[in-house]
Symmetry: C2
Subunit: 179 residues, 2 copies
Amino acid sequence: MFFNLGSKEFSEYNSKHLIPKKILLENYGEYASEIILPEFKDSFVLSQYRDFDLIELEQLLQSVGWGRRPLRRVKRALENSILKVGLWQHDQKFPRLIGFARCTGDGIIDATVWDVAIQPVYQGSGLGRRLMTYLIKRLKNIGVKRVTLFADANVISFYRNQGWILEPKGCKCAFWYSN
Amino acid sequence: MFFNLGSKEFSEYNSKHLIPKKILLENYGEYASEIILPEFKDSFVLSQYRDFDLIELEQLLQSVGWGRRPLRRVKRALENSILKVGLWQHDQKFPRLIGFARCTGDGIIDATVWDVAIQPVYQGSGLGRRLMTYLIKRLKNIGVKRVTLFADANVISFYRNQGWILEPKGCKCAFWYSN
């Protein structure tokens, strides 16, 4: 059940484009990827480089049930992450952030995924899967060999369906919380 | 079963010292901590700043069963880790590396522990526990709020005994491997 990068996972991308390449690059930076879904009139963009508005990001994270965190700390955590992916509902003037994930790691051997969120309205549309596929592709580009994440019980099937392996060899995750 | 930093975990440190403070600082850097165990004549030192010999580090990791990795990659992974802890068998000229752990993370919200190793000869002596206590204390000093790790099945009780929580709220870990 390995996640095989050579498999169809990465050939699924829609080849149709509504956003001119120049606009895509200017607004979302290198490696930005447009997604068109038949059920929505707007197109969506996955971006590694477009900057976040911290308040918009916190609102997104809170919409999926993450607790409130001081913006100052969130800002520093973003700065120290090796990869941040935004999923944007495209608008040439005001793209709206509707999905997010970030990774920490040594950038060489291991990366860990945190704060995966898709705006509730768009859950179940396949955008979350696209977000994760994009994220792994970008990590692979960096050269990372192993990606890990901690999944809540209710989203385990989401990851399993994408080829993530759960607890290989009886491996368990352990947590320690600061008090 | 939270890991309470105010509890006895951190008052356990031996107050006896064999290494003069000046020598400790010169050889092992700031925050170095000496450990004296009755069953060994040498004393041991936990250090956040003493540099590693990459070959010695790889030998240690291999002695506990980690696979061989290119030294160039290990070097970069160390550079990108937010904390590296060495456990040294003290010798004023040639301290010997007998334990290790490193952390990646955003340095603010999350940290993840990797590559925990204690030289087999010293396993079961309590040094591993000291190493982890020291590591958490240093992470707390950095300001990290949540520490996570992936534990193989055979070391789960080691972590549980120290107050780590396993899979809170049904949380699972998932892995993806580059191929």
